[in-house]
Symmetry: C3
Subunit: 175 residues, 3 copies
């Protein structure tokens, strides 16, 4: 792996079980910066708890962890600092949580993008690409796909570096 972590925003997009989170964690660990894992997921059921535990075991004890399902911008403002790398994992879970809470997705996306240039240190966003399968049959899944896709475009536009990860291999799309 010859990629290095840059200051500012890095966006890692990939499929389920593509190795995107491990790739992002590896970039941060190689950087020597202080590391925070900002989890947007909640341990609502056994399956999710299991996934969170797996992520935690892989990262080791040198990471601090913040959980914030909804107010991502405020959590970033509290956490980001000059020599700190914050890994937001992941944006699609944030979209899900915002939809459940009936928040305005366009407003939340705009607020996030407006805040990013004001934050210090390195920020990595990890997210699932979900738009490359058959059109889902129910409207909520289609709305979710639309919200996630628009957020991904906005974050990629704000990012200095964008990777697409498949089968654990990163492909640089920007930067």
């Amino acid at each position: 792996m010859t990629q290095v972590l840059e200051r500012g925003v890095t966006f890692v997009l990939g499929g389920a079980r593509s190795g995107k989170s491990a790739f992002a964690e590896g970039l941060i660990e190689a950087s020597g910066m202080d590391a925070t894992y900002l989890a947007t997921g909640r341990a609502l059921d056994d399956e999710m708890s299991e996934r969170i535990a797996l992520h935690r075991a892989r990262r080791g004890s040198s990471w601090s962890t913040v959980e914030e399902p909804l107010d991502l911008v405020e959590a970033l403002q509290r956490t980001c600092a000059a020599n700190r790398a914050v890994l937001v994992d992941c944006l699609t879970l944030w979209v899900t949580n915002l939809m459940m809470a009936e928040r305005d997705l366009a407003a939340e996306t705009a607020k996030l993008v407006a805040t990013l240039p004001l934050l210090k240190g390195a920020i990595m966003f990890v997210s699932n690409e979900v738009g490359l399968g058959i059109v889902p049959e129910n409207r909520m899944a289609r709305d979710f796909r639309d919200h996630a896709g628009r957020l991904h475009q906005a974050v990629a536009n704000a990012a200095a570096t964008v990777y697409f990860v498949a089968a654990g291999l990163p492909l640089k799309m920007k930067g």
Copy 2:
């Protein structure tokens, strides 16, 4: 964006809400050619009408619009011209319409590919990649996926330039 529009066939493939149509529109607007939007979709319900209106608002008034759900080859023959760029948006909707009308997809694909070298100006096809999710449970969705995949291969083979778009970022696959 340093990409430029070439004469002949350009194919832009991407996921739902990947920014593929906006990328294609941007290439055409930067080219200074006369522009036609060839819509294969029909405003059958509110959701589709909303999407078409959004596309229309983004493109502005300098574009002419043609709607043709089925006879794409004939519409291209009527529309294409030496200094004109025609944006076909999108091939997956055309596949859907052909299946609903019980047309022979292999014959339609062959006819399109045979016609492309005879057309003047620039032609851009936009389409959704739909084959990267779980195998759909119903046969019609699997057939759709097969038809779309075969058409994509044929159009990519005929194209001078092929882009894969994710999160608004183009990746050149050919050309």
Copy 3:
């Protein structure tokens, strides 16, 4: 097509109907090596039989064929040889078969990866990327997606060369 087949492991990942198998077959035919098609699929129903017949018609008579739905490692050990190219088509069907037979997926993946460096000749794995759509609603499909994703990461890590294929066009991810 300027790609050439290398000794050792090549992994071709792509969507349904992306042209990934035809791309892999083309690499093998251009290599001049003896060729074996190692099919993991079983002709359980008409749809699958049809797909297998199509694959067979395309490859021609110079290929030998081996069918092995479960014991892939043993089949590779019997088949691989110094001047032989073996095409395993495809890993996702193998995952399906292993799940149906209630095998331990982590153990099977580890055994495959441990065996690969010991095999002679060229080995190509073809597989479907299935993690880029909406999260499936049923747990078995989610488990399948997890198993396939982990296997893909392991095989990509063991491979000298990895391609992602879309619309018939290869994108080199590694090598």
